[in-house]
């Protein structure tokens, strides 16, 4: 066997140096298969020689099986559509990430589908992109879809966009046609405040003006940079390293009693030992003592680096806090104006409790006001009571505690948030914070001399809420009324809130949609809380069909003060009783959204008391409730 011949090692140092020095650009591509988006990406990968022989071989096999480009031609779309369902249906469903390198730059391409039902995927891809490339078919010009893409690009805060006018070969490189499309695109982008818009004519199929200057007949007028040339030379406008120092704390690093550091990724500005910093939201100030990494302490660090900070003073810092430059701290608020993009099949309901993740911080959140929904094709504000899948809305978010943030336009990492459903744990939406509302800063809790414990003592009782839930006609109000009579006879101070009665007054403005039902229960929960603070045993008799709102009401009270009583009778029994004739009307279609018929009832999973209202008379049920109060030591 022959002696080994090592590859020439001489140019290697140079080669490694060149690779190290390359900067990274994150590119979003949007458009549909019809626009030639997948073909464009396949073309870029192919021309930049990212594809290996075995992948090209696989592509040849796939093209023969599923291809749409005719015999012998490579169907690049198949390279890009990775999921089996996508290949079968010839569509792109999900965001895919592609990687390629040229002599000058490294690229990560987030490839996203174009149709309206995939808005959430495009928004996901856009969240980390520096520049968006929007595909337009030269034959069709600017479509509604292209306008929506431009709206979303501006909504997600991208500063740079490219309109790639594709299939120029099919219109004979008609310059007038291209100019018309470009002018229309610029006018629309200008209205959105998207000022860096570049329009390029190209053909993804042939590669003309993608990676090489076009030499086709009629294309002599195309003199500018190719698409790849443009992407190689583009300088991203906002470098977070230029902003004020921002460091969300992910992890308190405390391996032993001698070391206490705060680990995180710098998302804004720079830092050096000695810098004055403020811990937010608490507001304590101190100085940076050390910037610790496994490679040794640093003299300075900047946005994009993961480090561990040691502070000069023993200040209290926890995960979710932000360490910021003391001279230019973050706004802090628990009331935020934000734009939300909804990403779940179940609609966003104002008043319902969700989780909000803002950097490492996780806080309880509800939408207190849904100001309007935005038409994603035109940006027109539309009236709305909820947000459905792919809707964009302008909202006020009420948090259960204040957070430090920056407006999304200033810093994407400090102003971008996700919304998480409390029951399914799904990521159901994302949001861009615009500003904090003053309300939170100026409305303080007024301390009062007499507190709830003193009021309760004066009445000689333990206030609590008895929350009766169940279908209409199950007997909630009857049982609640009997319980109140018994408590009253014992000299207890009580109050009964009845669903129908409250709807005549406080909740007169609410209807029976899901959104209104949530608000209905939120208000009643707050009123019940006030009653408990007044020292009263409060009976609430409401259908309250949704688990999450009942949990919200429970969360308003101290542990042990909220007793959920499930008045359980089968729908058929309730319907046969029909004391107010409502079931008959609902069945006749006269009452939409009637619980049990047009709207769901979610039974409690673990109520404090489960009453079988079909098997026992109301008197026996009332006795069971009074027994529960005794058992819990409340009377």
């Amino acid at each position: 066997m022959s002696a080994p011949v090592a590859p020439a090692a001489a140019p290697l140092t140079e080669l490694l140096g060149a690779h190290e020095a390359k900067s990274l650009l994150r590119v979003l591509t949007c458009g549909s298969v019809d626009d030639g988006k997948s073909t464009l990406i396949g073309r870029l990968l192919y021309d930049c020689q990212v594809l290996f022989d075995d992948q090209v071989l696989g592509l040849e096999n796939d093209s023969a099986r599923f291809g749409t480009t005719g015999p012998g031609a490579l169907d690049f779309a198949l390279l890009v559509d990775g999921l089996a369902a996508e290949r079968e249906q010839g569509i792109t469903i999900d965001v895919a990430y592609r990687f390629f390198t040229t002599g000058r730059r490294k690229f990560i391409v987030a490839d996203t589908p174009g149709h309206e039902q995939y808005t959430r995927n495009m928004v996901t891809g856009a969240s980390t992109a520096d520049v968006a490339v929007l595909l337009v078919d030269a034959r069709h010009g600017l479509l509604t879809q292209t306008r929506r893409h431009l709206v979303l690009v501006s909504l997600m805060g991208l500063r740079h966009a490219v309109i790639a006018v594709n299939k120029m070969d099919l219109i004979g490189w008609d310059q007038a046609r291209f100019d018309a499309i470009a002018a229309e695109a610029r006018a629309f982008a200008g209205r959105l405040g998207l000022h860096d818009l570049t329009c390029l004519p190209l053909s993804a199929l042939t590669g003309a003006n993608v990676t090489r200057a076009p030499d086709e007949p009629g294309a002599a007028w195309v003199t500018g940079p190719t698409l790849l040339g443009h992407l190689e030379s583009l300088t991203p406008a906002d470098d977070p390293a230029n902003g004020p120092f921002r460091f969300p704390v992910q992890w308190v690093n405390r391996p032993n009693a001698d070391f206490r550091g705060f680990s995180g990724l710098i998302v804004g500005g720079q830092v050096a030992p000695g810098d004055a910093v403020i811990v937010q939201p608490s507001g304590r100030t101190t100085r940076v003592a050390r910037i610790v990494t496994a490679d040794g302490d640093l003299e300075q660090a900047e946005a994009g680096q993961s480090v561990t900070l040691v502070l000069a003073d023993e200040v209290d810092v926890a995960r979710g806090d932000v360490i910021a430059t003391a001279s230019d701290p973050c706004p802090v608020s628990d009331q935020l104006a934000a734009r939300l993009v909804w990403m779940d099949e179940a609609p966003l309901l104002p008043g319902r409790g969700y989780w909000l993740r803002a950097g490492p911080a996780l806080v309880g959140m509800q939408v207190s006001t849904l100001k309007h929904r935005l038409d994603v094709n035109t940006l027109e504000p539309l009236a709305a009571r909820d947000l459905g899948l792919n809707d964009v809305g302008s909202c006020t978010l009420a948090l259960d505690r204040p957070i430090a943030f920056d407006p999304y336009a200033h810093n994407r990492d400090m102003g971008g948030v996700i919304v998480i459903d409390r029951q399914t744990n799904q990521t159901v939406g994302c949001g861009m914070i615009d500003f904090g509302l003053r309300r939170a800063d100026n409305v303080h809790w007024q301390p009062t001399r007499i507190d709830r414990a003193q009021r309760a003592t004066a009445k000689g009782q333990h206030p609590c809420v008895l929350w009766f839930t169940g279908l209409s006609g199950a007997g909630k109000s009857t049982v609640a009324d009997l319980v109140e009579q018994r408590l009253h006879a014992q000299g207890r101070h009580t109050m009964l809130l009845d669903g129908d009665n409250v709807r005549h007054g406080l909740n007169r403005d609410l209807g029976f949609t899901d959104a209104d039902r949530v608000e209905n229960i939120r208000r009643v929960g707050e009123v019940a809380k006030l009653m408990v603070e007044a020292g009263l045993i409060t009976l609430v008799s409401f259908i309250s069909p949704f688990r999450s709102e009942r949990r919200l009401a429970r969360g308003l009270l101290e542990p042990g003060q909220f007793l959920e009583i499930f008045v359980d009778a089968p729908l058929a029994v309730c319907e046969s009783r029909d004391p107010k004739g409502l079931y008959r009307k609902a069945r006749a279609g006269q009452i939409p959204n009637f619980t049990g018929i047009g709207s769901p009832y979610e039974p409690p999973e673990s109520p404090d008391l489960h009453l079988d209202a079909a098997a026992h008379p109301p008197e026996a049920l009332a006795d069971a409730v009074v027994a529960l109060l005794r058992e819990r030591g409340l009377i």
Partner: protein, 309 residues
């Protein structure tokens, strides 16, 4: 005090520094968000990089999670020796899990084929280990540039109670915000190297001087040719055809798995820079040497849905 290595100019991070910072950020999120995470350690180059990053992420502390190796009993002998040496050097807590049922049934790649062997000894074994210890998050070293279905997977990838992956119901993943909330029994697979390419891995191994299994470097090794793949005769379990004699050839591996399922490539690259140089000239992808990936166009996606990493 020192500035970070390989920093060309002030205030300009290199591509590798950004990748490193992102991976460390992901690891810290997992440590903070989960009750009981674990890091899969498969001994290969990606695992070596992931382990190195975990040591850096919690410095001066230690990684706050154990490491897990799912041993199919068919790994290259050099891999096992390297694994035990590294864990000893770093003083780490390693759990080695073998599917004992599979061993009892005599499951192996030669007798049962790659599909059955991989399912029983890798996928099922992994699920056993995760269930047995009640891990709610598991790090894996997969990269998006490896394979088409991986290109669509999230960094935090949700798994049901039965470890299934549903590519159509993935959680949207925006900015640097990772949603690790799960109900009891559900879990998240975490891929901190998602945005690294094969080249990045080698450049980083070079920059950080990370030890890797010597099988990645060329030397004369006894191999036989099977279906166009060069298979190392690593032990006596590999049956030889009558008259078949293993040949000494200069070979190395781009990827490491079970030895009868992993093809070598002819090479003379004996150092990391030579490997990188060879890769820049390469015309085939690294997974090409993996017999299991050839089982069908969407085979990786199907395996992942079943719980494969």
């Amino acid at each position: 005090m020192a500035t970070a290595p390989g920093r060309p100019a002030p205030f300009a991070l290199t591509h590798l520094q950004r990748l490193e910072a992102e991976s460390i950020h992901i690891m810290r999120e997992v440590a903070a968000q989960f009750r009981k995470p674990v890091m899969l350690y498969s001994i290969g180059k990606d695992s070596s990089v992931m382990l190195h990053l975990a040591m850096k992420a919690f410095y001066p502390g230690r990684p706050p999670f154990p490491f897990l190796h799912v041993d199919t009993t068919w790994k290259f002998r050099e891999m096992i020796a390297f694994r035990d040496q590294r864990m000893r050097e770093l003083g780490l807590d390693l759990i080695v899990h073998i599917n004992r049922d599979g061993v009892r049934q005599g499951i192996g790649p030669i007798t049962h084929g790659s599909a059955v062997h991989t399912d029983v000894m890798k996928t099922q074994a992994l699920k056993q280990a995760l269930d047995q210890h009640g891990f709610d998050a598991a790090f894996g070293g997969a990269r998006r540039d490896e394979e088409k279905s991986r290109a669509k997977e999230r960094i935090f990838s949700f798994r049901t109670r039965t470890h299934r992956w549903d590519p159509r119901a993935q959680r949207p993943e925006l900015w640097r915000l990772y949603n690790g909330r799960v109900a009891p029994g559900e879990s998240i697979r975490v891929f901190p190297l998602s945005n690294w390419t094969e080249l990045d891995i080698w450049l980083y191994i070079h920059q950080e001087n990370i030890p890797v299994v010597p099988l990645y470097f060329a030397r004369p090794r006894p191999v036989v040719e099977r279906d166009g793949a060069l298979i190392l005769v690593d032990d006596e379990r590999l049956p030889l055809a009558p008259g078949e004699v293993p040949q000494e050839r200069w070979v190395r591996f781009r990827t490491l798995g079970c030895y009868p399922l992993t093809g070598a490539i002819e090479s003379h690259a004996t150092t990391v820079p030579e490997v990188i140089h060879e890769m820049l000239l390469a015309r085939t992808s690294e997974r090409q040497g993996r017999v299991i990936d050839r089982d069908g166009g969407a085979s990786m996606e199907a395996k992942k849905q079943e719980g494969y990493f």
